[in-house]
Amino acid sequence: MRVRSAERIIAFALLLALSTPAAAAPIPFDIRADTLGQALIALGQQAHITIGLTDPQAAATRSRAVHGRMELRQALTKLLAGTGYTFIIRGGAVRIVRAVAERPHPMPSSPKVHPARPVASEEIIVSASKQHVALTQFGGTVQVIELSRSDLSRVGAQGSEAILARLPVLASTSLGPGRDKLYIRGVADSSFNGPSQSIVGLYLGDVRLTYNAPDPDLSLYDMDRVELLEGPQGTLYGNGSLGGILRLVPKRPDFAGVSGFASAGGVTTSHGGTGGDASGMLNLPLVANKVVLRAVSYASRNPGYIDDIRLDRRDINRTDTVGGRAALRIDPGDDWDIEIGVLAQGISGRDGQYALSTLPPLKRAANFAQPFDNDYRLGSITVRKQLHGMELVSATSLVQHDLETRFDATGFPGTSGPQLFVEDLGITMISHETRLSRANARDGGWVGGVSLVHDIGDVSRKLGPANALVSLSRLRNVLTEAAVFGQYSHPLTPRLLLTVGGRMTYNREAGGLVDEAADMNESKRESLRFTPSAAMTFQLARRSVAYVRFAQADRAGGLAISDGGTVRRFETDSLTSMEAGIRLGQLSRERLAFSASVSHARWKDVQADLIDPAGLPFTANLGDGRINGFEMEAAWRPVRELTFELATFVNESSIHTVDSELFPLEGGDLPNIADAGARGSVQFQRQLGPGVTLGLTGSVRYVGKSRLAVGDPLNLKQGGYAQADVGARLDLGRIGVSLDVTNAADVRGNRFSLGNPFSVTQGNQLTPLRPRTLRLGVDATF
């Protein structure tokens, strides 16, 4: 039944795609009655097309005025009425011809010929495409959030949370800032953290951020935009992009001059504490047009709102974040561009953010504080060079990532009295990618490159009474991955573009217990895998595109080493996806923009990080899964001041286990993904006076019900709530003042039924929504 409904969705979307008239892209025209020559100049400028004539007599002919929003053909027909001339549209150009002398195309009514137009300069470029493809021509499902100054000052302190709040297709676990796993489009393996590779690739510009760590939750300060590229991205981004990739694109150091930005805010949470945030950014040319430095630093405190009644502490889940980025950009001339970047961010959560359902709201009782630390450091160098229409990009980075987690493990099998569990995870990662691309979506183009990742993860786990911890294990995993990849686009017709690509990945993993005596007693595993992809895009109209895409990504098999030292292999998992989508219009040009896509994914040998009955992590293959998804975004601007947006993601998934001994169950949804999620928002902007603009925003977000894990006793319900946020900002030019209320209705909801893996099987943990939180902020540029 469910499969059939998915088919119906696909059929509906295709119908929608096909029935959309290709030329339905109205343009606002304002052309006076003038000579035809002048009128054509105005028309060309307003429609951004090539148009004109070489007959002086025609140029001097009087033509009619054209006002209002209409299609190009309609405008031309009106303009030329009674002039004795008509038009031919061919290959994106308009030719004016004498109506009598030449009329091979008397007003063609079929939408076959439409001006295919080159990329306009203000168009959004999907840089994650690695080929600078314009959003309006991109054959894949992608979300681009452009961050305005207002966004940066208001949600800059937040990391992924701000992105999660905007995009229903993005989901995550909710242990706390800096310790969550992200999921895109319903591709979720498990709710637990562990050593298996991330399911979402995280990038800062061209630099890879993690391999198998939780989301480092980088603050969004001084970011230019966020790109979420959905679906498996095996060809361009390699292993670990099963769900897609999330790319934070920082603002680039700017040679134009000295500039700066600062923001500060005070935050108070109902039933909780107070906090605040501050940031400062400086763009400083050191050598005019040669060397420029851009640096941002920030600190924030997110108030807690959960009380521990046993420890008698209030607002325990306070989180502090301190960090900064600096980038030095060098223009040595000759079309080279070098950027050296460093980044450091520390997140420390004073305590876990879960409460117990058996206690009054926002209360819990634990034997210990369960703090968390996430320290992330990154150094990178990115070199770009333009060569005859091609671009060479080489990015190399070094990451040091340390995570410290503490849990109350009282009741751990074989122990008595309060037990504390401490896990230290240290990751060192080197990654590199060099690629050469030719950027041109319409005429085809290509990209090819090599990539390399070397990741060393050291984990140490200790357990015992707080003053007498005993080492459970020290493990080390060393992973090396090398890949070559390529993608080629070929225009089959002027509007139909075929893209094929593939990636060959060599993967080597070695791991074992780190002995006090010996160095390491290791096991090894190697694999070589090929992941193909293919896509077809059809340009429906100037800013509208339909696409179908087939893609694959996988995660190499590995070694799961238990704390006892036994090594268990887990197999490569592989996700294959088919999707079809359309994207119509662009809000910056039209009043209405719409996009939708359907996807069907089959996931073989799902790898998942799980916990054993005692609460300790292990990794295994769950079985085979499939996911059907439908997503839709629409934006409407009825008048210039007002914008409505609606986004939704619905999906259904199932997983069938193969290992009945390990998981005695016969199917069910993938964990932690709600069947439905949606967000609606309204924005109002009005100029109150010279240099004074008022902006109001309101949004409602619904997160459907999901469950924590596959099978009892972790089949715990979560989600199923709606949250409303409202905000206002007064822009006074250089200074802006904003007031935001999140969870304005002070709704109680359970985001996530896990806070502590050692007692989660009791089924009483829940992660309450942050209660109503008020932020008053100010920002300034200079």
């Binding site: 951004h48 002086p56 502090d320 960090g323």
Partner: protein
């Protein structure tokens, strides 16, 4: 019971450090600004398709089209040279310190102005949008007012013409605008904007073109589109295009 939370001193210290660093940045910015201006002469170059706007110290600005190179002189930024390409100058007039643009041996001095200059190997074009400039070559000079253009041909001959100010520097909007301009001229502009060579068959070179050409794209799109608009065909061989 052991201490529940470790002392928060390191965290506070980090916070204090971050605030100190932010303050230091802000301070450096303010202190740096006045020192930054007297930078020595520097060059700015753009690649094909790139548009870059440079703010000068006095509030004037220069917008550079693709494939262009500009040298900005010395102490006060009131002297510059367009080495090649095209640029739109929006100059704040200062009678005490007039802005001087050098073009090889020739000089343009602003009289309160927005003006566009095109320079390639053999020829030179000055178009005045607003105000006026004074153009000097050797001992000779002339004043160009808004809407006036000056063409220095490869032969060394100079021709003064007229152009609607709104049509000048239309390259900035990704759209070139012409009123009765020979097709050969349009082709030259396309070539410069696209970084290719575009030539025109003799029969069409002198046809007067009126219209608008969308140039935000690749030569493979732009040149055939223009050709098709004038009822011609574009042929490519290597990086060279022929409109016939």
């Amino acid at each position: 019971m052991p201490e529940v939370y470790p002392k928060s001193t390191p965290r506070l210290r980090r916070l204090a450090l971050a605030v100190a660093v932010a303050t230091a940045f802000a301070l450096v910015a303010f202190l740096w600004q006045p020192w930054l201006q007297p930078a020595p002469g520097y060059q700015i170059a753009t690649v094909q398709g790139e548009h870059r706007t440079v703010q000068l110290a006095d509030g004037s600005s220069v917008a550079l089209n693709g494939n262009s190179r500009l040298w900005i002189a010395s102490a006060n930024g009131r002297e510059a040279e367009l080495l090649r390409g095209e640029a739109l100058f929006n100059i704040r007039h200062n009678a005490q310190r007039p802005f001087v643009l050098r073009l090889g041996d020739d000089r343009i001095q602003d009289l309160g102005t927005v003006f566009n200059v095109v320079r390639d190997r053999q020829s030179l074009k000055v178009e005045v949008v607003e105000g006026a400039v004074s153009y000097r070559r050797g001992g000779n000079g002339l004043q160009l007012n808004a809407g006036q253009t000056l063409d220095i041909l490869p032969t060394g001959d100079a021709a003064v013409g007229r152009k609607r100010p709104s049509a000048i520097a239309s390259w900035r909007a990704g759209q070139l605008v012409y009123e009765g301009v020979p097709v050969a001229e349009v082709a030259k502009d396309l070539g410069r904007n696209l970084g290719v060579t575009v030539s025109v068959a003799p029969g069409r070179a002198l046809q007067p073109f009126t219209g608008s050409v969308h140039i935000a794209g690749h030569a493979r799109e732009v040149v055939p589109q223009f050709a098709s608009t004038i009822g011609a065909r574009a042929r490519q061989s290597g990086g060279d295009w022929l409109i016939e």
